[in-house]
C-alpha cells in the first residue's frame, strides 16, 4: 500500500521558489493501477520522482506499507529503488554498454532476485527473444521500450512507476506496449503508477488522478 499524504515540493529557480506540488494526497493499494494525468508543469513527474526516492519531499509524507520514505539515507533510498520499485522512462534509459539480455536481467540481479525463467518468459512475451544478443543502439524505439519494461519487471517489483512509457511511440505501437505492460504487471503482481498525457491510455487503468497546479483536481475511478 502506497500512501502519499499532503506532499509539498518546490524548486529554487531564478525567479524565486516555484511550488510544484502543493499538498498532494493519493493512495495506491497493492496490485492496483493508477494513472496520473495533468498539463505540462502540473507536477506529475515530480510526484513520480518523489515516490521513486529520486527526490525528497519538502513536507508531507510518502508511506510504503506504513513506512515513510523521508528520513531514509541515500543507501536505503537506493535499496528502495533497487528492490521496491521498477522504473520505466519515456527515454527508455537502457544501458548502452550491455546487450539486451544483460539489460533485461540487470535490475533483478542488482536486487538479488534474478529468476531466469521469469526473465526468459518476459523476453518471450515482450518479443525480445531474437534480439537478446543485440545492443540498445541496434533496436527501434518500441523494442527499446519493451526492454525497459522487461528490465523494470524482472525483479517483480511491488510497485512499477512508469513515466509516459509510450510517449515516444506511435499510437498503435503505444497501445500494444501498454497492453503488454498491463498484462505483465498483472502477472508480476505489481501495483502500477503511470504518468500519461493520453486519456485513452489512462482509461485502461483502474483509476485516474488529475493534477492541476500542484494539487489533486479530481480522482476518477
Amino acid at each position: 500500500m502506497l500512501i502519499v499524504d499532503n506532499v509539498c515540493k518546490s524548486f529554487a529557480t531564478a525567479q524565486g521558489r516555484l511550488a510544484v506540488l502543493r499538498g498532494v494526497d493519493l493512495q495506491l493499494p497493492a496490485g492496483e493501477s493508477l494513472a496520473l494525468m495533468g498539463e505540462s508543469g502540473s507536477g506529475k513527474s515530480t510526484l513520480l520522482h518523489l515516490i521513486a526516492g529520486l527526490e525528497t519531499v519538502d513536507s508531507g509524507r510518502i508511506l510504503v506499507d506504513d513506512v515513510p520514505l523521508q528520513g531514509r539515507r541515500e543507501a536505503e533510498l537506493a535499496r528502495w529503488r533497487r528492490e521496491g520499485i521498477g522504473l520505466v522512462f519515456q527515454q527508455y534509459n537502457l544501458i548502452g554498454s550491455l546487450d539486451v539480455a544483460a539489460n533485461l536481467a540487470f535490475q533483478a540481479r542488482l536486487a538479488g532476485r534474478h529468476d531466469p525463467a521469469w526473465v526468459d518468459y518476459l523476453a518471450a512475451r515482450l518479443e525480445l527473444a531474437p534480439l537478446l544478443a543485440r545492443y540498445p543502439e541496434q533496436l527501434s524505439g518500441g523494442q527499446q521500450q519493451r526492454v525497459a519494461i522487461g528490465r523494470a519487471l524482472a525483479p517483480r517489483p511491488p510497485l512499477l512507476l512508469a513515466d509516459e512509457p509510450t510517449g515516444n511511440l506511435d499510437e498503435a505501437g503505444g497501445e500494444r506496449v501498454l497492453d503488454l505492460l498491463l498484462e505483465l504487471v498483472g502477472e508480476a503482481g505489481s501495483s502500477l503508477l503511470m504518468v500519461t498525457h493520453s486519456a485513452r491510455l489512462a482509461a485502461r487503468l483502474a483509476r485516474t488522478l488529475y493534477l492541476r497546479q500542484g494539487r489533486v483536481q479530481a480522482v476518477e475511478a
Partner: protein
C-alpha cells in the same frame, strides 16, 4: 567579416562555460611547446657553442698540418715551411690548470696574429683589426669568453695565476669567444705551457691547401695535411647526445599534443548543436571553418607563447647539467648561460601552431562534414568502436613491421631511433586493442550484474580515454626504459670504474723525461707495490681519433683492466708485441673481433697486431687501443709517457703524494688520488643523466595531466551513463567508487602493459641505440623494485587524475543526475 566575428563570438562563448576544457587545450599546447622548445634551446645553445669553438679561428674552413706523431713539434719546422713559401701560421694548444676545490682547466690556444690566413677572424674580430700592440704586449692580452671568466671566478683585467704559479696576461673579455678557451699570443702560450719552441699545429689558408701542395722533402714523415673538415669531431661526437635529447623532446611534444587533441575533440562534440544552429542561421561552412581555424590559431598563439617562455626557463634550469655532461663526456665546452635567439622564439611559436593544427585537424575535418540536419540516429558506438579498433590494430601492425625492418636492416642511430619511435607508436596504438581484448575476456568472469556493467562500461569508455592512456603508457614505458638503462649503466659503469681505478695514485708527468725519472725513482722503493707507466700515441684510424696506449705486463695491470672478451693468453701476447686490445666502441667501428688483425700507422709503416681482447671504455668518444709498452716505443719514437699509476702500501698515499708534489709540483707534475678520480668520474656520470631524468619525470607528469584532463572532460558525458544506474538503485558514492575502480582498472592494465614495453624499450636502448650512439653495448638489467615503484607511481598518477572528477561526481546533487532525465524531456 561580420559573419566571422559573430561566428567567432558564438564559438568562444563555449569556453566561458567550459573553462576546464579551455585550460586543457592550453595546457596541452603549453606543455608540448615548453618541452620541445626547452630541448631545442639546449641543443641550440650547445650547437652555437660548438660553432663558436669551431669559428674560434674563423675562415676556419682552414686546413691544417698536424704532427703525425705526438702532439707537438719543433718550431723550426714552421720556419722551414715559411722559407719554402708555405703561408702557414703556427698554433700551440694545451690545457691550463687553475687552482680550486675542483680542478678547473681551460683550453689554452696560442696564436700568431700576423700570419693567420688572410680573412681570418678570431672571436668575430677580423685579424686585420687587431690591436696588435696590446695583444702582443707586454703585458699582452688573454682573451676569454664571459662565461669562462665566470666559471673560473675571475675578473676582467685581472692577471690570473695558474695552479703552478704562472701569471697570465691580463684577461680581456670577448663575448664571441668559444667557452672554455683562453686565446693569447703564441709566445705567452709557449711559456705558460712550458713548451718553448714547440707548436701543435700549423694553419693553412683553404685555397692554398686546396691545391694539395707536396710537403718539402723531409717534412712529409713528420706532418700530415688535414683537410678542413677534420675539425668537426666535436659536432660528430656529440651528435648522438643531442639526438637523444631531441628524441625526448619530441616524445614530450607528442604527449602534450595528446592532451590538446582530446580536449579539442571533446569541445567539438559538445558544440555540434551550436555549429548546426550557426549554420542554420546562415553562417556559411567556409565562414565557420575560418572561425574555427582562427580560434585554433588563438590557442596556438597563447599556448605557444607561454610554451616558448617556459621552454627557455626550463632550458636555463637544465643547461648547467647538460653543459657538465658535455664537458665530462666529450670535453665539449658549452656555455652555462643561455642566449635567446629570435629564430628560437619564432620556431617555438611555429611548432606550437603546427601542434595545434595537428591536434585540431581531426576536429576541423569532422566539423566540415557535420550534416546540417541532425538525424536522430542512435550513436552506433559499438560499430564505430570495432572499426576504430581494427584500424588501430592494422596501423600498429604496420609500425611493428617497420620497427622490425629498422632493427634488422638499420645501421645508424637514426634507424635505431626510428625503430624506437615506431615501436612506441605501435604500442600506443595497440593499447586500446589490447585493453578491449582484455576487458572482453574479463566479462566472461563477471558474475554480478554490476560487475558485468562495470567491465562493459569500461570498454565503452575506451575511445574517450585511450589517448590519455596511451600517453600514460608511453611516459611509463619511457620511464622504465630510460630508468633501466640509466641504472644498469650506472651499475656497469661503477663496477667497471672500481676495477679500472684500482691503483692508489695517478701521476701525470709534464713530459716523458720527467716521467721516466719519477718512475725510476719509485721503482723498488719501500711502500710502493707497483709502478705502472703508460705510454701514449694519438692516431687516426679510418678518420677517427684513436689513442694508442702502451702498458707493461704486470699482474696489477691485468687485474685492473677488465676485459669483455679475450683470448686465452691475451696479456702474454700483448706483452710480446703480438696482440692488441681494442675498446668496444673502436672494435665495433672497425668491425673487428677477437683473432682479427688491426693495422696501425707507425713510424716504420703499417704495423699489424692480432686482436686478443676487447674491453669496455665507457664515456670515451674516441677510440682506444691497448698494446705492449715496449712494442709501442719501438714503433713510435714520439710516444710519450703520459701517466704512471701507483699501487701503494696502505697509508702511503698521503705522504708520497705530498713528497712528489713538493719535489715535482713546480715542474708540472700533476697528481690525482684514486678517490678523487672516482668522484669526478661518478659526478660526470650523474650529471650526464640528470637532464635526461628531469625530462623523463616531466614527461610522466605530462601524461598524468593528460589523464586528469581526459577524465575531467569525460566527467560530464559520464553523467548520462551513470544516471540510469542511480535511478535503478545504485548509490552515488557507490557509483563514484565504481567509476574510480574503472579508471584504476584501465590504468592498471595500461601500467601492466607498460612494464614489458618499458623493458623492451630498455633493451632497444642498451642493445641498439647505445651501440649506434656511443659504440658500447650494455647488459640488460631489469630492476623489479624500480618496475614496482614506477608501476605504483603510474597508478598513483591515475588515481590522482581520477580522484578530482570522481570527488565531484560523488558530491553531485541528485538534481543534476535527475536533470539527465529531465533534459531529455
Amino acid at each position: 567579416m561580420d559573419m566571422l566575428r559573430l561566428g567567432l563570438l558564438a564559438l568562444l562563448g563555449h569556453w566561458r562555460r567550459h573553462r576546464l576544457q579551455l585550460f586543457a587545450i592550453l595546457t596541452g599546447l603549453w606543455l608540448a611547446t615548453t618541452l620541445w622548445t626547452g630541448v631545442q634551446a639546449l641543443n641550440g645553445q650547445a650547437r652555437a657553442d660548438y660553432a663558436r669553438a669551431q669559428a674560434l679561428l674563423a675562415g676556419s674552413a682552414q686546413a691544417q698540418l698536424a704532427p703525425r706523431r705526438g702532439e707537438r713539434f719543433d718550431q723550426a719546422i714552421y720556419l722551414q715551411l715559411r722559407r719554402a713559401g708555405w703561408p702557414v701560421s703556427p698554433l700551440l694548444e694545451g690545457r691550463l690548470y687553475f687552482a680550486g676545490a675542483e680542478p678547473l682547466s681551460v683550453r689554452l690556444l696560442g696564436i700568431e696574429p700576423l700570419t693567420l690566413p688572410a680573412g681570418s677572424a678570431l672571436a668575430g674580430q677580423p685579424v686585420a683589426a687587431f690591436d696588435l700592440r696590446a695583444f702582443l704586449g707586454p703585458p699582452g692580452q688573454a682573451w676569454i669568453a664571459p662565461d669562462t671568466l665566470q666559471r673560473l671566478g675571475l675578473r676582467a683585467g685581472e692577471a690570473a695565476l695558474t695552479r703552478d704559479g704562472q701569471r697570465l696576461p691580463p684577461l680581456q673579455v670577448h663575448a664571441q669567444l668559444a667557452p672554455g678557451v683562453i686565446v693569447l699570443d703564441i709566445g705567452y702560450a709557449q711559456t705558460l705551457l712550458q713548451a718553448p719552441g714547440q707548436l701543435s699545429r700549423l694553419l693553412l689558408p683553404a685555397d692554398f691547401a686546396a691545391r694539395a701542395p707536396a710537403l718539402p722533402a723531409g717534412l712529409a714523415p713528420l706532418l700530415q695535411l688535414q683537410p678542413p673538415s677534420a675539425g668537426d669531431d666535436l659536432q660528430r661526437l656529440t651528435d648522438s647526445f643531442h639526438l637523444n635529447l631531441t628524441a625526448l623532446g619530441w616524445l614530450a611534444f607528442v604527449v602534450g599534443l595528446f592532451i590538446a587533441h582530446a580536449a579539442i575533440g571533446l569541445a567539438l562534440e559538445q558544440r555540434r548543436g551550436l555549429l548546426r544552429t550557426l549554420r542554420a542561421c546562415g553562417v556559411s561552412l567556409r565562414g565557420l571553418m575560418v572561425a574555427l581555424t582562427v580560434e585554433l590559431g588563438l590557442f596556438a598563439l597563447i599556448g605557444g607563447l607561454a610554451g616558448v617562455v617556459c621552454g627557455y626557463l626550463l632550458a636555463s634550469l637544465l643547461l648547467a647539467d647538460v653543459a657538465a655532461s658535455l664537458r665530462g663526456l666529450y670535453g665539449a665546452e658549452v656555455s652555462g648561460q643561455l642566449s635567446l635567439a629570435p629564430s628560437g622564439w619564432l620556431l617555438g611559436l611555429a611548432i606550437g601552431l603546427g601542434g595545434a593544427l595537428i591536434a585540431g585537424a581531426g576536429s576541423l575535418w569532422r566539423a566540415a562534414r557535420l550534416p546540417l540536419l541532425a538525424l536522430a540516429q542512435p550513436q552506433a558506438w559499438r560499430l564505430a568502436q570495432s572499426r576504430w579498433l581494427r584500424r588501430q590494430g592494422l596501423l600498429a601492425a604496420a609500425l611493428l613491421l617497420l620497427a622490425a625492418l629498422c632493427w634488422r636492416f638499420g645501421a645508424s642511430l637514426f634507424a635505431a631511433l626510428a625503430m624506437l619511435a615506431a615501436l612506441l607508436l605501435a604500442a600506443a596504438l595497440m593499447l586500446p586493442v589490447l585493453l578491449d581484448g582484455a576487458l572482453a575476456r574479463l566479462v566472461g568472469y563477471c558474475r554480478g550484474a554490476l560487475s558485468e556493467w562495470f567491465v562493459a562500461d569500461s570498454r565503452q569508455q575506451l575511445p574517450a580515454l585511450s589517448l590519455a592512456l596511451m600517453a600514460l603508457l608511453l611516459a611509463l614505458a619511457a620511464s622504465v626504459g630510460v630508468g633501466s638503462m640509466t641504472e644498469g649503466f650506472r651499475r656497469t659503469f661503477v663496477g667497471w670504474l672500481d676495477q679500472r681505478l684500482a691503483a692508489d695514485l695517478y701521476l701525470m708527468p709534464r713530459d716523458t723525461a720527467q716521467g721516466l725519472a719519477i718512475a725510476a725513482s719509485l721503482e723498488g722503493r719501500a711502500g710502493v707495490e707497483a709502478v705502472l707507466p703508460s705510454w701514449r700515441v694519438e692516431l687516426r684510424l679510418q678518420g677517427w681519433p684513436v689513442q694508442l696506449q702502451g702498458v707493461v705486463d704486470q699482474p696489477l695491470q691485468r687485474r685492473y683492466w677488465p676485459l669483455l672478451e679475450q683470448r686465452a693468453d691475451a696479456w702474454a701476447q700483448l706483452a710480446a708485441g703480438q696482440g692488441a686490445m681494442l675498446s668496444e666502441q673502436l672494435a665495433r667501428r672497425l668491425k673487428v673481433g677477437l683473432g682479427d688483425r688491426v693495422s696501425l700507422p707507425a713510424d716504420d709503416g703499417e704495423q699489424g697486431l692480432t686482436v686478443v681482447g676487447v674491453y669496455a671504455d665507457y664515456g670515451n668518444p674516441r677510440g682506444h687501443v691497448l698494446a705492449g709498452a715496449d712494442w709501442l716505443r719501438q714503433h713510435w719514437r714520439a710516444a710519450r709517457l703520459t701517466n704512471i699509476a701507483l699501487r701503494l702500501v696502505e697509508g702511503q698515499v698521503q705522504p708520497l703524494s705530498e713528497q712528489l708534489e713538493q719535489r715535482y709540483g713546480a715542474q708540472g707534475l700533476r697528481l690525482t688520488e684514486q678517490a678523487t678520480l672516482k668522484r669526478w668520474s661518478t659526478e660526470v656520470f650523474e650529471r650526464t643523466f640528470a637532464a635526461t631524468a628531469a625530462l623523463n619525470a616531466l614527461t610522466l607528469a605530462v601524461a598524468g595531466v593528460a589523464l586528469f584532463i581526459s577524465l575531467l572532460t569525460l566527467g560530464h558525458s559520464r553523467l548520462g551513463q551513470l544516471a540510469p544506474l542511480w535511478a535503478l538503485g545504485v548509490g552515488r558514492v557507490k557509483l563514484a567508487w565504481l567509476s574510480l575502480g574503472q579508471t584504476l582498472l584501465l590504468a592498471g592494465l595500461t601500467v601492466t602493459l607498460a612494464m614489458p614495453l618499458g623493458v623492451l624499450l630498455a633493451w632497444c636502448l642498451v642493445a641498439v641505440v647505445n651501440v649506434q650512439a656511443f659504440g658500447w653495448r650494455l647488459p640488460l638489467h631489469v630492476f623489479p623494485g624500480q618496475l614496482l615503484q614506477l608501476g605504483l607511481l603510474g597508478l598513483l598518477t591515475s588515481l590522482l587524475a581520477a580522484a578530482g572528477p570522481l570527488w565531484q561526481l560523488a558530491r553531485r546533487q541528485p538534481a543534476e543526475l535527475l536533470r539527465q532525465f529531465a533534459d531529455e524531456r
